[in-house]
Subunit: 317 residues, 2 copies
């Protein structure tokens, strides 16, 4: 059986982003420092921390991993918030049991000006509301976008799913995209981001399907959401130019027979939601993982934060 | 068998609080308006909404219940935030499936100056950090405390567990309290509040026991937390002057044999965590429910918000 699809590796997409980061870095006066807080014994978090350290150092940033006890994480973050030598902060979750929601409290402790992951309520609010700057109407300070959703956007830009000939902010006009996963961390923000850029997005999770579209007549062209009563992923896949999946665990597999010929398929789960062989029978592009893009986006966010910090100093002086 | 314990009803405690609210209300120029947003079909939320409406109106406040579709809740809250005729906002949860955490996002949309439930990150942060005012060092605007934890504090004040002869901020000095439930919504904030007021608090949940104590030498005398390795509720109960429980569901029952003679027992679960008969064999006071205190505290918070809003106007003019 022919498998016309091409596999695109995250490293390839990351290369261009890192070049852009290096360029930005060369214009700074000092070496930005990212501080990572590790307050759990999760081996996966440790691997991710080591990987962030390596990528930081290789790309001209300083990285400082701080291991702290769970009960000291709050004070440690608050101290880093007011430490001028720290430019960005990343916290490795989970720290506390998920059901307690204490991690969500911790997330909001990171100072807005050092939140490299873009998880502060203000950033998430701006993203949902399609507000792209922190300082309207001056618009010199870009609002930070959460890393994983932004990494998917960067993959789509690389694959020219974004029409660069269209005006900025509507470059997904005419595209239909299915996003499988509607978590508050990745799936829902991603669906909103893509809809804000003009796509018609089917957001799928176990509770059903929602359609995210670019709103009309609203100040910021914020997306609109409608329930698709009775729909499942089966109705969405044949209609979609792009299928993006991030279902945790290894029991979920997408029925690749339903994927349109020529589609772009992106997996952001740590497991393989697409069968690597059959997906290529239909997909033109298959991106099996996006981790390296995510970390490049993290460095890009760090650079933005430093630029925002310098802009703030200029304003203050 | 003798049952020396006395049952204290929430309505009795609420009476004094409502008198205090009426007194404050009489000094205002206008009638404060609370807006409630109902965006679910949950009958329990409807009952609570109707009950808030009734208590508001009976106590001289205006109440406006707004039923909105789930997809309109964000815009509806943002509109109320900038509407000068709205003094306080309460949202009835759950709206979205719990696992999605979207409700936590919605919670943070309510304007700080109208957040009658005290759920904004800033208020929660101040509570954990034991920062009692919004405008230090002027200290004219009180930070809002979340309703249920504050209601428990008010019950303890009523029962004179707080030593009024001690200086404000350390009136639980010498008290040992067990709090069963460490949710981010009630249990953990409650443990922190009580520790900030000087108590030694055993915070119990299925993951184990933590000891919250008043920190020493820290600027705000913020509480400290330590794991009690190997402890369960069985070790905590015999040591406790006060036992406060809020375990959801009706399968959890406290072993009342372990409760100290003369203890104060408070239930804030919608189910009965204490057996109503046996608890009185040991407890001096048993408070089976606190709902009416919670709603009085809600009105008290609303009054505070209006006072803060007037203070802000004075500053601005």
């Amino acid at each position: 059986m022919a498998q016309p699809g091409k596999v695109i590796l995250a490293g390839t997409v990351a290369k261009g982003l890192l070049a852009e980061v290096t360029e930005g870095l060369s214009k700074l006066n000092s070496k930005p420092k990212l501080v990572g807080f590790l307050a759990n014994e999760d081996p996966a978090a440790k691997v991710y921390a080591d990987f962030s350290a390596k990528t930081c150092v290789e790309n001209g940033f300083e990285f400082d991993l701080r291991k702290v006890a769970k009960e000291d994480i709050e004070d440690a973050i608050l101290a880093a918030n007011v430490d001028d030598s720290v430019h960005g902060i990343i916290v490795y979750y989970p720290i506390f049991p998920r059901a307690s929601r204490q991690d969500q409290y911790i997330q909001q402790l990171v100072g807005l000006d050092k939140d490299v992951e873009g998880l502060s309520h203000k950033y998430i609010f701006n993203m949902y509301q399609n507000i792209r700057f922190l300082d309207p109407p001056t618009n010199k300070q870009k609002s930070i976008l959460p890393c994983t959703p932004l990494a998917v956007v960067k993959v789509l830009e690389y694959l020219q799913v974004y029409h660069t000939a269209l005006p900025y902010g509507n470059r997904l006009f005419g595209r239909t995209i299915t996003v499988i996963n509607r978590s508050e961390v990745v799936g829902r923000p991603l669906a909103a981001l893509l809809a804000n850029d003009g796509a018609k997005v089917y957001s799928v999770d176990i509770d059903g399907v929602q359609l995210f579209t670019r709103g009309k007549g609203i100040k910021n062209h914020k997306h609109e959401v409608h329930e698709q009563e009775g729909w499942t992923v089966k109705e969405c896949l044949p209609l979609s130019d792009v299928v993006i999946s991030g279902v945790p665990g290894n029991s979920y597999k997408i029925d690749t027979d339903l994927i349109r010929d020529g589609a772009t398929c992106i997996n952001f789960s740590s497991e393989k939601n697409f069968d690597a062989t059959t997906v290529k029978e239909h997909a033109a592009f298959y991106v099996p993982a996006i981790g390296k893009v995510t970390i490049s986006v993290l460095l890009r966010n760090l650079l933005r934060l430093v630029q925002n910090q310098e802009e703030n100093k200029t304003k203050a002086s």
